[in-house]
């Protein structure tokens, strides 16, 4: 028996919203008895895609994070539901029983990821069912995964060591969307953006991009170093949020510069002009 999960690689998500639209296409106006009442034609979103703009002109990156139901092994929604209205199948998929859950509006607050929505017309809470109805018919993958053009959304058997999702999780590079909930989410992420600190170094005396300059970043006792590229650009990615870092720039023949900055947001320090020493 398979145990289903997903890995979402943010590095590959282009923000096309195919996942959102294909989920709507599958469920809006379509009931799957025993699995899910029909989604209303408008208004629900079982896989919101959150766009995040990072940095300042002209150093800007954009990331997209799709957020389906995490099908947690320790799901708070299962605990809060009455009469066994939410349950986890042997294959790990968490289902809201459309009949038993009727009237239990409070369940929309049970999920820390806020993936449960309320169907006002049918008076029932609803959420992503990992297309269990399709998998049970022998289909390969949920609609969102099928429609993803880059393979950012991956689906498979967590108990099969050879599956793509298992292999990625085994690298240790995946994480839950919010590490602190501790609810054993079976949807894991790669490439979740941290914060970046970036800048561009210019030789002031020659108005030229400074290539190959050593830039050191430090925080307490930790340190990293990169060299600027041909455009004089440097970048430190995956940094902690709201943390003070010190940037030290040292180029032979030029006065050293030190900049302290706090990662309240992704930070482009702009053009940093070096003066001759």
């Amino acid at each position: 028996m398979a145990r289903y999960g997903m890995v979402i690689d943010i590095n590959k998500c282009t923000g096309c919203y195919n996942c959102f639209l294909s989920c709507r296409d599958e469920f809006a106006g379509n009931e799957y008895k025993g699995y899910s009442a029909a989604q209303p034609m408008e208004g629900q979103n079982w896989i919101p895609v959150i766009e995040k703009e990072r940095g300042q002109y002209p150093k800007v990156k954009v990331s997209y994070t799709p957020i389906p139901c995490m099908h947690c092994d320790d799901a708070p929604c299962i605990k809060m539901a009455q009469n066994g209205a939410i349950y986890r199948r042997p294959d790990g998929i968490v289902i809201i029983d459309p009949a038993k859950a009727k009237g239990q509006k409070e369940l929309i607050s049970s999920c820390p990821y806020r993936v449960i929505e309320w169907n006002e017309q049918k008076q029932v809470p609803q959420k992503c069912i990992l297309c269990a109805h399709m998998l049970d018919k022998g289909e390969k993958e949920p609609r969102c995964v099928e429609s993803c053009p880059t393979g950012a959304l991956m689906f498979g058997d967590l108990d099969d060591a050879g599956s793509e999702v298992s292999r990625l999780i085994a690298t240790g590079k995946t994480e839950a969307l919010h590490g602190g909930y501790g609810i054993k989410e079976k949807v894991r992420y790669m490439g979740l953006p941290g914060k970046f600190i970036a800048g561009t170094i210019i030789y002031g005396d020659r108005d030229a991009c400074a290539e190959g300059v050593a830039v050191a970043l430090s925080r307490d006792s930790e340190g990293w170093e990169v060299k600027t590229n041909a455009f004089g650009d440097f970048e430190f990615e995956g940094l902690a949020d709201n943390t003070e870092y010190t940037v030290r720039i040292a180029a032979a023949g030029y006065k050293e510069q030190t900049i302290t900055t706090r990662t309240r947001k992704d930070t482009y320090l702009g053009e940093i002009t070096l003066k001759r020493s």
């Binding site: 195919n18 099928e146 053009p149 455009f231």
Partner: protein
């Protein structure tokens, strides 16, 4: 009834359609099975690359069933309330009138009667008709199918299209490297394999492939650009907007002011020339006119050396960045993924875009166009190792009439008069007009120089009295589109017919409205994304897929297929037999099947049953013929494109320019108009007539606006119909019960105007005003506002009044109608100055 799974095709990819109880319940990509031809594998740099075995869909067709069942479908035939074909016509009411439901008989009788009357009173040239791209998909039920055959048979004034997504390339690059059969862009055969193996860097210059699907290929190449990144191939984006591809893939973003890209190009050439970092052998052997160019770049002709410092002032990019860009380009094997074919960054549709487009070709020539890893690679989005010996017509394969390929007798238009789309309002309101060129000048370089006048002098000319509009809308795709509002309200237009699937922004200017069904409501045949003709060999798919488009549902409400509508008109006009040649819809489909390569692989019944066929790709043994490689190596052209006139001749190693080489100084332009200062024989940066240097305008309208092609609609065909798209905030933002069209503005410009995120703003200039929702973002350079074109909702606060404020988001109301340049009659949409202020209702 049991669920059926049928096959169909859309402008954004082929689909499996699930039908239950006579209703489409969902639509999915076509996932191939084990009996379908194997997919290709490219081996490069120690890795193997193979595409997923399915079609990918562009986002807007994932929700296609919403478009089919949209409440905006035209459900019945209608007559405009105050329009009486036997009495007063009230043209002034077009755009603000009510509509009365009528029967098909009344509708078709009226249209046919009007056609007959107008032909008799004024001559056949008094009727014109035009289509749009692409509200349906399929060879036989679409614009170049029944429309072309009907109007050619009737005889009508041909409306010439301008090559509207790649103006600069058509009017410019053709004079630099030929390729007129592809309207100025080059083919892209086998470029993916070449890039994966050899390329070190890709420069995306004014192109956004993740948005545009590079025409109709779904999102097939999205994964390619991720492969490039995984291989460590750097991506540099040049675009005033940090576009959707740049945001996720860009290693470097350079944002020139709109309209200044040519200056940046000249400065790059300066660095190469002064540092000697260009391919001297290629320039010496494969180009002409370089010496004059070299002198010009160094400032020896006009005293202005095109240095990075010079360009920095114009583009507002630091000189040191320009220098590094040039050096990096020269130091690495670089693909120029420029938006020549599909101007999603705007540079190809701006004033003097001809100059930029030509400089693009010249720059890549200076680095050895066609050598391994170095080419013009459209959007990094075309050129998988597919087999093009397999024949299937595209919609443009036979010019204006697909039936010409299969009918016993091709329809020949008896009317010689032409009119030009961009000038149609002037043609109606204030004739005569004149223009140069034949619209899509795909047959020769000289076509661009042919002068035209409307009305045609002599007995065969006539002023247009009737417009038959087949699908789509110009209000948000042409320029200065308040002109269309005025045009339709002219009493000179005695009859306006709108034939479409949905109420579009132009539909309410029609006198008779005919409900057409979508391609899901009848059968057809096609190849995925195949334009043929000017698009021959453009292929951005991972697999070539032929589709038998099955009829999924009965025509909705009282709609009829375009074929049925034109048959009914042909019958009333007395040429039904000639039109159909006794063939049914299915007969025509079979004829297309029979002229294609399909019969070599599969029987008609098998093809029809399965509904799709995947063409086997090139085997590893089959020769790769990289575009332009033959030219670099001095060999006869060996790429599959059939329209290169020199191919197979003793000049097959030449390009289609007069000299046969890449021309720094264009011989065709030297011949035609050596004194044209707006498109001189040798290209250069020319300050825009509506740009940052146009001081008489910037005082009032200080912001430059670009309006590229949108991501979430194919032109206007999905917006305002597939309403689920309104839940995508990059498409529309819902506020106070309305789905607003976004405009993107830099924080400094927003603050100066007290504009905050999600404020409703008025965007305006002398041409009109549009209400949008402000998105304050670092993704636009200061001084720029960005909003997509193609809003399908024209929602004037004062309906029927030209110049009314529109809140639907039709940015094209603000775009200039002035042409690219004197002899280049293309749109310059992206040379537009506006001001933006908070909207106080």
């Amino acid at each position: 009834m049991a669920e059926q799974i049928l096959t169909q095709c859309t402008v954004g990819g082929p689909v499996f359609v699930h039908v239950e109880d006579g209703k489409i319940s969902k639509m999915r990509p076509i996932v191939f099975d084990d009996t379908d031809a194997p997919s290709w594998t490219i081996e490069a740099r120690g890795r193997k690359f193979t595409p997923p075995r399915k079609t990918t869909l562009q986002s807007y067709v994932v929700a296609e069933r919403m478009r089919i069942y949209s409440e905006n479908r035209i459900k019945y035939p209608y007559r405009r309330k105050t329009f009486d074909p036997h009495g007063d016509r009230h043209p002034e009411m077009r755009g603000k009138d009510e509509y009365i439901r009528i029967s098909w008989d009344e509708a078709l009788d009226t249209v046919a009667e009007e056609m007959r009357r107008i032909r008799k009173s004024y001559g056949p040239a008094a009727i014109t008709a035009m289509t749009s791209s692409h509200h349906n998909w399929g060879l036989l039920h679409y614009k170049f199918g029944p429309f072309g055959r009907f109007f050619n048979m009737l005889g009508y004034t041909t409306l010439m299209d301008n090559p509207d997504s790649w103006e600069g390339s058509h009017w410019g690059a053709i004079h630099t490297w030929g390729y007129f059969w592809l309207l100025g862009h080059c083919d892209n055969y086998d470029m993916l394999e070449d890039a994966l193996n050899n390329t070190e860097q890709v420069i995306f210059w004014s192109v956004d492939p993740n948005s545009s699907s590079y025409q109709y290929w779904g999102q097939e190449s999205a994964i390619w650009r991720i492969w490039l990144r995984e291989l460590g191939i750097k991506a540099i984006f040049i675009d005033p907007y940090c576009n959707t591809t740049a945001g996720v893939l860009g290693d470097k973003w350079l944002a020139p002011r709109p309209g200044t890209d040519a200056a940046l190009a000249e400065a790059i050439a300066y660095v190469w020339i002064t540092e000697g970092t260009y391919d001297k052998w290629f320039v010496e052997n494969r180009t002409i006119g370089f010496e004059e160019f070299r002198k010009h770049i160094l400032g020896e002709d006009d005293g202005v050396p095109r240095t990075p410092g010079w360009a920095a002032e114009i583009c507002d990019i630091p000189a040191h960045n320009i220098t590094v860009l040039a050096r990096e380009w020269a130091a690495k094997k670089t693909m120029l993924a420029t938006g020549a074919m599909y101007g999603t960054g705007g540079a190809v549709r701006a004033t003097y875009a001809t100059e930029w487009a030509r400089l693009m070709v010249l720059l890549i020539a200076m680095q050895g166009l066609g050598k391994p890893g170095v080419n013009v690679w459209g959007g990094a989005a075309m050129g998988a190792p597919l087999d093009f010996s397999f024949q299937m017509p595209g919609y443009g394969s036979a010019g204006w009439d697909t039936f010409a390929l299969i009918a016993r007798k091709k329809a020949e238009n008896s009317v010689s008069q032409k009119v030009y789309r961009l000038l149609l309002p002037e043609a109606i309101l204030n004739p005569p007009i004149s223009w140069i060129g034949e619209g899509f000048c795909g047959q020769s370089i000289e076509q661009q120089f042919v002068p035209h006048t409307y009305p045609e002098p002599g007995p065969n000319g006539a002023e247009i009295r009737m417009i038959h509009r087949h699908g789509g809308s110009f209000i948000s795709t042409m320029t200065e589109t308040n002109r269309w509002v005025r045009m339709y309200q002219s009493p000179k237009l005695e009859c306006v017919v709108m034939q479409d699937c949905h109420w579009q922004s132009e539909t309410r200017f029609g006198d008779i409205v005919l409900p057409a069904s979508t391609n899901f409501e009848h059968a057809d045949i096609c190849e995925w994304a195949n334009a043929g003709g000017y698009g021959e060999g453009d292929c951005g798919a991972n697999h070539r897929v032929m589709i038998y488009e099955k009829k999924c549902i009965e025509p909705l409400w009282e709609s009829k297929s375009d074929w049925e509508i034109y048959k009914a008109l042909a019958k009333r006009l007395g040429f039904l037999e000639e039109y159909t040649e006794g063939n049914s819809e299915e007969d025509w489909i079979k004829k297309i099947f029979n002229i294609s390569s399909l019969p070599k692989y599969v029987s008609y019944e098998e093809f029809k049953k399965k509904g799709y066929f995947v063409v086997p790709c090139k085997s590893p043994e089959q020769k790769r013929t990289v575009s332009n490689r033959w030219y670099y190596e001095g060999r006869p052209c060996d790429t599959p494109n059939s329209l290169n006139p020199k191919k197979g001749t003793n000049k097959a190693h030449e390009l289609a320019t007069y000299s046969g080489k890449i021309e720094f100084v264009s011989q065709s332009l030297t011949k035609f108009d050596p004194n044209d200062e707006e498109r001189p024989p040798m290209p250069r940066y020319i300050p825009s007539w509506e740009g940052h240097e146009t001081k008489e305008l910037t005082a009032k309208y200080p912001l430059q606006m670009i309006t590229p092609h949108p991501r979430y609609s194919y032109h206007t065909h999905h917006d305002n119909k597939t309403l689920w798209l309104n839940d995508i905030p990059q498409h529309r933002v819902k506020k106070d019960g309305y789905a607003w069209w976004p405009i993107r503005i830099h924080p400094s410009d927003a603050e100066a105007r007290s504009i905050r995120q999600d404020d409703i703003v008025r965007v305006y200039n002398d041409r009109g005003a549009v209400l949008c929702i402000a998105q304050v973002t670092e993704r636009v350079r200061p001084g720029l506002v960005h909003s997509y074109e193609s809003s399908a909702s024209y929602d004037p606060l004062e309906p029927g009044k030209a110049g009314s404020i529109d809140r639907g988001g039709c940015m094209n109301l603000l775009a200039p109608s002035r042409m690219l340049s004197r002899n280049a009659p293309g749109m310059a949409s992206n040379s537009c100055l506006v001001e933006v202020c908070k909207w106080e209702a």
